[in-house]
Every structure is written in C-alpha cells, then in structure tokens.
Symmetry: C2
Subunit: 456 residues, 2 copies
C-alpha cells in the first residue's frame, strides 16, 4: 500500500520532468480515437451547420459542453453578428426538344428567381477569360454557363487556379445583364453532386441567380450546346438573405506555464455548408486539433498556452477568423495553424518561423518524418481563419493534408462521416500532437520577430 | 475498269462464302464506336425515360429513327398498355433534438403522404426476418426502417439475396399497420444517392409511403437509433398513379437466309428509372446489342434472322418482356439473350442449349476466350425480358458482365454517361459480335428441342 502511494506521488514528478516526448506522444496518437468520436458526434448529432443559423448555434452549444467535458480551461463562445443567407428551392431543367432535369445548387449569396422560375436561352463559355471578353449584348437576358477543366492536385493548386469561375464569373455575368449564371462545379468527382461555395457580388454587381451544376450535368449541358441547336433552361432558385444573425468562435485552452512565451493558436471551423454533414469540411479539422490538444494536456502542462479555436462562419467569408483577429491580434501569438483541408493523410509540412527559431523546424521535421511527412520550402500560410494573422507576421507551421480527393466531396451533399478513414484521421492527430509537443515547449523565442519561410 | 467490275462482282460471292468470321469480327469490334454513339445520343437527347411517360415515348421515336438510319429491316414499335406511376416531391428529415435532412427517394408504386407530410417515430429492423417476426402493435403508426448488409458481388448475387428488403418489406410493414417504410438502399456505394426500384403490394397490402435512404443516410439513421433516444422522422412523398399509359417494344431485324433456322433474339431495355439518364441501365445494353447486330449485318446476311428488341417498361415489372412473349412466343426462337447488367467487361459466358448444339457452345467459348471470358457451368437464364422464354425452353447464351460496381450506380441519379468506359463497352460489343457470328450461322439445329445447361 505504501509502495503504491509512493508510485502515485512519483508519477507527476516524472511527467514534469519530460512531459512532452514528441516521439512517444506521436506514436500513441496513431491509435487515437478521440478525433473520431468528436467528428462522429458532431456530424451525427448536429449534421449540417450553416453559418448564422440555428444549426450552427446548436453546434456551438454542443462544442462548449464537449470541450468542458474534455477538461479544457477557459471554454467560451465569442459571438459576432453576420448577414445570413439561406438556400431555398433549387431546380433546373432543359426545356424544348431534349427536356430533362439537371442537378444544381445555389452558390452563396445567389440571388433568387421568382417562385415559378425563369426560362432563357443558355450561352456557354469555356473560361472566365472568354466570359470577360464577350460583348454584353450576347449575354443580356440569357442564362450564362461557364465551364472549366479543373483537375486533381495534391496541394489543392487547381482549386485556387479555377476559383474565379465561382468567385468572379457571377459578378461579371450580372454586370453584362445576364438573367442568371450556372457554372461547372469546382469539383473533381464525376458524380451528380453539385458543389456549392461562397461568392460575393463585386463592383456594384446586382445579385442574380447563381448556381453550380454537378460535373455530369455540366458534361450533359456541354454536349447539348455542342449539338448546335439553341438550348433553353428553366431555373428555379429561391435562396434569400434573412438579415443579421449570430455566429461565434468557440474557444478552449490548455494553459501554459510561461505567459510570456506566447499563445499557440490551433483549430478548425465549426460551421459547414448546409448540404452535407461537414465531415471532411471541417468536422475533421476541429476533431484533429482538439484531439491533439487533449493529448498534450493529458501528458502535462506545456510551456506555452495552447488555444484551440473552433471558428464560426468560415465558409461564408472567413468571418470567424476576422472576428478573432479583431479581438485578439494584440495578444502575443507564438504560432497559428488551422486544419481545414479534409481528413486525408498529412504528407508535407511547411514553415514560416523567425530565423532564430529554425531549430524548431528541424525538430518538427524530425518528429514528422516517421509519419511519411516531408518538409517543404514553401512558406506556411496557416489556414483560412488564421491566414491574416500569419500574413501579419505570426509564425506558422502548416501540416498539409493530401488534397488529391478533397474536391471530390468538398461543399457537396456527399461530405459525410463515411468518407473519413480511421487510420488517416489518427495519422493527422499524431502529426499535430508531435508538432504541438515541439512548438508548445520550444525554448527558442517565437514572439516578437516576424516569421518568414525557412530554407531547408 | 473491267477488272474493277469483276472485283466488285466477286466481293459478294466471297462474303457469301465466309461472311462471319467470328475472330475477325470480334477483333474489329474492339474498336467499336457504334455502341458509344448510341448510348451517348440516347442519354443526351432523351435522358431519363420512365416507363409509360412521354419521355419513354420520345425514346421510342428516337429509336425507330436511329434503327432505320442504321439500315435494319422491319423496324417497328409494338405498343402495349400499362399502369403508370410517377414520382412527386420527396423529402425527409429527422425532427426533435438532432434535426437534419435525409436523402431518400420513393420506391416504385410507393403510396403518398399528405402534401404536408407525416411525422412519426422510427422503428428499426436489421433484416426482413426481424421485421416479419415483430408484433404488429410495435409497428402501428410508426415509420419502419429496415437495414441490411449488401456487399459487392461480381455476379450480382447479393442483389438477389437482399432483394426482399425492397420487394417484400414494404408489404409486410403495410400489413402490420406501419405509417410508412424507409429502407437502406439496395446499393453498394457510399454516396448520398438513394437507389429506387420496383416493388408491388402483395397479399392485399395497402400502399403506404415507401422509400429508400442513401447508404450514408441509412448509416446516420442507424447511429441515431443506436444512441437510444426516440428518433422521429418527418416524411413528404407525393408520388401518384396516373392511370393507364402506353409503353412499347422497339423491334428491328437483320433478316436471315433460312427462316426455318429460327430467330436469334437479342436486346436490352429502352426505359430507365427517372433519376439518372439510364446510361448503364440500360442504355449500354441497347447500344451493345445494336452495335453487334449492325456489325453482323454489315458483314453479310446471316443464316438466322437476328431480331433486336429494345424492350419498354422493364424496370416497372418486365412489362415489355411479357408483351413480347404474349405476341411472339409461338414463333421459332433459336436463342434469346439480353444485355442488362451495366457496361463493365464481360467476364463469363453461361449456356442453355439443346444437347445436340454443344458444338456451338464450344465454338462460342473459343471465340470469347481471347477477350478474357471464361465459360461457366451455370445455366444461362437470358436476362429479365427474355427470362420467361428461356425458362420455357428457348436456348440462351448469357454474356455475364462484371457486376462488382454495378450496384454503386444502379437506379440512382448517378447513372449517367460518364460512368461508361469506352474500352469496356467495346469489349462487350466484341463479345456479342463473336457470339452472334457463331450462333446466327451455326449449322446445328436450335429450334424444337428444349435447352438445358451443358456440362463443360
């Protein structure tokens, strides 16, 4: 009995001596089930959670209870106001001699048709450049169709490159007098799931109905257009702006021993598009980062405070990231890093650190290499909600997930729990845990000197 | 000039001597584009073509024009009457503390909810056997959910085995007083496409709303049920019976030189479910068989008449097959074979031939082996629309397509042209062409003696 008591007393002392062995924590995390449990509960009990809606509010309440139950400190919600857009009916069909329905979905901030819809001739463009070059009189009163040839890319490069099809083409079509616009989805699958996503009306463009066709439907429309006969489409889209609503960031902390060493900010976004249940975007990200923070917390108190943020309203304009920055940018951030690129394996690590912190990168590299993760010379950008902080000089480590298949599911009805692989999810947790173990305890200073990319 | 004329004269004689070299026709067909053009045009210009609707009538008109243009003889439509069921609205959502939408679609002949829908508690069963064993008072007024564990099978065996979940469970649930039934789709994918399909109300069961959930949605409902709290569902399904409509079989022929040698009946079904564009089910089948018949026709006149039938209304109860049999079963059929299992490679050939015709099987086997097709000892059943003819003794050769992935797409919105692989489609045409070259010209008698399975 006495022996047992001594053992219990000794244990905390041992922890305090070397609480965060990155290799041991990493290897233990390869059997992680914490992340799976979080993403399963979030996607099952809440499901879709569009920013600013009652569903996102339910997700925040769920999150607060969950994070408290996990033992995090300072669990709280920081609310903010935002304009809310919600989907309505969405239907389209080819009319005339080849009548048939098409699968599409409204893009964020899409205007609405009348309830009975509109019908107009389709005018097709192969690119945003072709649309930009077209004289307005060709578009007036028509339904513009813009296609593209996005392909798979491990680092997501094709999403950035083809992004203007969704982000700019609607405003251009509106300014040229089009009645509506449909685009080929920004997606790399060949399933009849249209991919929604945000867009804003720029340069005074008036909202018009704007939607994405699934890739097979875009193929079909291309084939019909190529047959050379006029193609007419009937379109019913009835989304609406519902005014100002509430979103919020859910924050939890693992308090550090040295307040001057700065805050290690990690997280993902809690909101999702309304079509799927937001499993890979971004249930996985909130789950991975929370599981890693929990593993560090359970191993002992780190030097730096780890601040976990589950951002609100990322999908509709990075509103949670903006709100966080407005409120917290004056605080000392040692690092900022978000997980928001699915649930596939981490394959690469990027850094943006002050030159004096180069040894940190070397130690992170060494801790990650056994997971098959390669160090790059690309400058880390940190992720959407922390990107502005990182651009302003906050250090970042980006754990790049394999995005090859990410845009098969992104922003579709098909973003559901079954798409997450247990082992890949655990590999993510292992990488995040190892990275946090190094960064949160590193003796090198991380606050006060601007970060930059580090030569390998 | 004279020499040229002699050559022209000599050509038909050479053809008559050996017009149908199975190996040469087979190898040429591996570059087939006829089938692709047919299925592309059918799925693009007509799209979905539900039995008994105006879309199926448009498909028949398209088919007649197409088959005439291809040079077939005796192109005609044989119409028949049928009761028509059409889909309406279909929506479902979990209500209560975990509110969220579910993706589902009505099964054929589903009853309707009121326009505003119904809401009831869900009662879940793991199998039809468990449903059958349940006392009626547990089901009364509830929404029954029946799940299963269908897996992929190359020969489609799992579809037959789990078929009662769709075909029988709705009637059982109705007879026990359930308000509605939702089943896990008979599908092997993990995408949010529900799989529709036919079912009939048996033993006096009154129609109730009956629908299939996509597999991810069935997963979600299972998870919610397992959490142990009551799960309530709101269901809106408004399909309706529209009365008696017209369907029809489209028939085209390659006239043979010997009327007494019997008819070689081949084809697929022209109707499709209304959700997708019916590319693999069964645009591929009509295209493959037509392309093969065309290749035989272009090579010279066969001994036996090849009769190509594009059946109507297969999906809703093999009505085209029944209509054909009523009208034509008295005619001498040398063979009956349908292509209706997708567009993947043919991997196996089954026979049902009179014993005296065994040499035909040997020659077909030899012609198919270079395509990677293995002869089986399974008795050929011919395919859905010709199955009753074959069961009554008409010989059959079944070219079995690889069905491993067939039920990923079967009866879903996702059955579209992009799912067909050009090379695999051509392999099908090659196999059919080789089989026809042998069977249509075989000297062995095929009419008048009952077919049976042949030992290898």
């Amino acid at each position: 009995m006495l022996k047992q008591r001594l053992a219990l007393l000794a244990f905390p002392l041992l922890i305090a001596a070397a609480p965060h062995d990155a290799e041991k924590l990493r290897d233990a995390a390869l059997k992680d089930t914490i992340a799976w449990d979080i993403v399963e509960d979030l996607t099952t009990e809440i499901g879709p959670r569009l920013a600013g809606t009652e569903a996102e509010a339910r997700a925040r309440a769920w999150a607060v209870a969950r994070l408290k139950a996990m033992g995090f400190a300072n669990v709280r919600v920081e609310e903010f106001d935002m304009p809310v857009w919600v989907r309505g009916e969405e239907r389209a069909e080819i009319t005339g001699v080849n009548p048939q329905p098409l699968a599409l979905t409204a893009l964020g901030n899409s205007g609405a048709t009348p309830p009975q819809g509109i019908e107009a001739e389709v005018i097709a463009f192969d690119s945003v450049a072709e649309l930009t070059a077209a004289p307005a009189e060709r578009l007036r009163g028509r339904i513009v169709f813009v296609t593209h040839r996005m392909n798979k890319a491990q680092d997501g490069a094709s999403y950035s490159y083809f992004g203007p099809v969704r982000r700019l083409a609607p405003s251009i079509a509106s300014q040229k007098g089009a009645a509506a616009i449909v685009i080929r989805s920004l997606g790399t699958d060949s399933h009849r799931f249209p991919h929604t996503g945000n867009q804003s009306w720029t340069d005074g463009a008036q909202p018009i109905p704007a939607a994405a066709l699934s890739n097979p439907d875009a193929d079909q429309l291309e084939r019909l257009v190529k047959r050379g006969k006029p193609v007419r489409m009937r379109l019913v889209l009835t989304p609406r702006q519902t005014g100002i609503g509430k979103s919020g960031n859910v924050i939890a902390e693992v308090p550090g021993t040295d307040p001057r060493a700065g805050i290690v900010l990690i997280g993902g976004h809690l909101d999702s598009w309304d079509l799927g249940t937001g499993a890979i975007d971004d249930g996985a990200g909130v789950a991975i980062t929370a599981a890693a923070a929990k593993r560090i917390m359970d191993a002992g108190r780190p030097k730096r405070t780890i601040r976990l943020v589950w951002f609100g309203a990322e999908e509709v304009g990075v509103r949670g990231g903006d709100a966080y920055r407005s409120r917290h940018s004056g605080e000392p951030h040692a690092l900022a890093s978000e997980s928001d690129f699915g649930a596939d394996r981490i394959w690469r690590v990027d850094f943006a650190l002050p030159p004096a912190a180069k040894p940190i990168a070397d130690r992170v590299e060494a801790a990650l290499a056994p997971l098959g993760i390669a160090r790059s010379s690309v400058q880390a950008r940190g992720g959407p909600d922390v990107g502005a902080l990182v651009a302003s000089g906050v250090p970042a480590v980006t754990l790049q997930q394999d995005g090859t298949d990410y845009f098969d599911l992104h922003h579709t009805h098909d973003d559901t729990l079954d798409k997450i692989d247990h082992k890949k999810l655990a590999q993510n947790v292992a990488a995040w845990t190892a990275m946090l173990a190094v960064v949160a305890n590193a003796p090198e200073p991380l606050v006060g000197e601007a970060a930059q990319s580090l030569p390998k």
